[in-house]
Every structure is written in C-alpha cells, then in structure tokens.
C-alpha cells in the first residue's frame, strides 16, 4: 500500500513565526502537489513539483521536492492568520494515473 505521511498533524503558531510541513513516502513520486483547503471549500492547488531537487516559491511559501522524489516539504515564512487551513500533499506514483493524498496538516496561525 502506498502511503503519504505528513508531519506535523497539527500546528498552532503565532503570527510572524516560520514553519515547515513534511510529506514522506517510501515510494518514488512522478509528481507531487500541495493544496490548501479551508472549511466548506474544496482543496486549492498551490504548486506541482516534478523534478527531484526542485524548489518553487510562491510569495512566502517555499516548496521543495527531495532529490530522490520520495519526500517534499512546505516552508512558510512569517505566517499570517490567512495561512490558516488544512494543508495536503498529493502524490502521483510512477506508472499510475491516480493521486494519493497525505494525511494532512492542520495549521492555525494566531494573530
């Protein structure tokens, strides 16, 4: 069974702090996506990474794909209350068409 483990599961921080969320698997991804979901809405795509070692930035968010394409991280600099939400990674494994979602990280940023 292919699994995506995210850590931490929950995170509550003060506005202005930095944080990192991890997404790990024992299998190799052909691509990996990060999503943010707010209550009552569907997940919104933040980024797709496909190349081992790739780093992408989206304003205060930095996404890194591991060299071996088995893991990824999301780093948020100077978190704001608007960053509050459920963060999900989703991986597509080589040779498959479907996505497997990570266990999720619930982030709360306090003003």
């Amino acid at each position: 069974t292919q699994l995506l483990e995210q850590s931490p599961q929950f995170l509550s921080i003060q506005e202005g702090e930095n944080l990192t969320v991890y997404c790990n698997s024992s299998s190799v991804f052909s691509s990996l996506q990060w999503y943010r979901q707010e209550p009552g809405e569907g997940p919104v795509l933040l980024v797709t990474v496909v190349t081992g070692g790739e780093v992408k930035k989206l304003k205060r968010l930095t996404f890194q794909f591991g060299d071996a394409r088995k893991d990824s991280s999301l780093h948020i600099t100077a978190a704001q209350p608007g960053d509050t939400g459920l963060y999900l990674c989703a991986g597509r494994f080589s040779g498959t068409y479907k996505y497997i979602f990570g266990t999720g990280t619930r982030l709360k940023v306090l003003a």
Partner: protein, 114 residues
C-alpha cells in the same frame, strides 16, 4: 485551469434513500475523480470516472453502492445508494487535463444521512 461546480452543495437525507451528485467542468478534461472526505481529515479516492467506459473503483468502494456516470468530457455524476449514517461525509469531484499533473477540485457536497 478548470472551474468545477458541484450540485447540491449540501443535503440531508434519510437512510435507505439515494442521492446523485453532479459535477460540471467549464472545459473538456481527460480525467475526473471522486473523493470522500471526513470533516477535518484527508481525502480518500472513491473512483476514477472514465469517459465512454465504466469507472475504476478503489478498494473498499463498489459500483452498486457508488454508481458513476461520465457521459461526456465535461460532466460526471456520483450516486450514493441505499444510504446509511456512515455515508455522511463530504464528497468532492476533481478534474485533470491530460498530462498536466494538475488537479482542480469542486467545492464539495456535504452529505448528512439521518
């Protein structure tokens, strides 16, 4: 990108009844997926809706319980049949255009079964 709408946005149903959820995409897409999500938790793939052929179901999900239609490249339906309270969940559809590794989601349907 693709914009996806779902109907209904929420419903409260009696056990033993069925509900059909509609998913409409504003452009033609190759792949459409149906997921289930318990509030505050991650997503579990139910099935992949294939245009012109039967849906492909994941382990633990069967066609008799979750029949899916995909009549064209912009539309799909998921029916939750013979509902029980355990079917109470959020149901999400998503779509991906071929070869993009990019999946877009609808807003979800919140289902409560009494």
């Amino acid at each position: 990108s693709a914009v996806i709408s779902q109907k209904p946005s929420r419903d409260i149903c009696q056990r033993g009844t069925s509900l059909t959820i509609q998913c409409q995409v504003d452009s033609q897409v190759t792949m459409m997926f149906w997921y289930r999500q318990q509030p505050g938790q991650s997503l579990t793939l139910i099935a992949t809706a294939n245009q012109g052929s039967e849906a492909t179901y994941e382990s633990g999900f069967v066609i008799d319980k979750f029949p899916i239609s995909r009549p064209n490249l912009t539309f799909s339906t998921l029916t939750v049949s013979n509902m029980s309270p355990e079917d109470s969940s959020i149901y999400l559809c998503s779509a991906e255009t071929g070869g993009t590794d990019t999946q877009y989601f609808g807003p979800g349907t919140r289902l409560t079964v009494l």
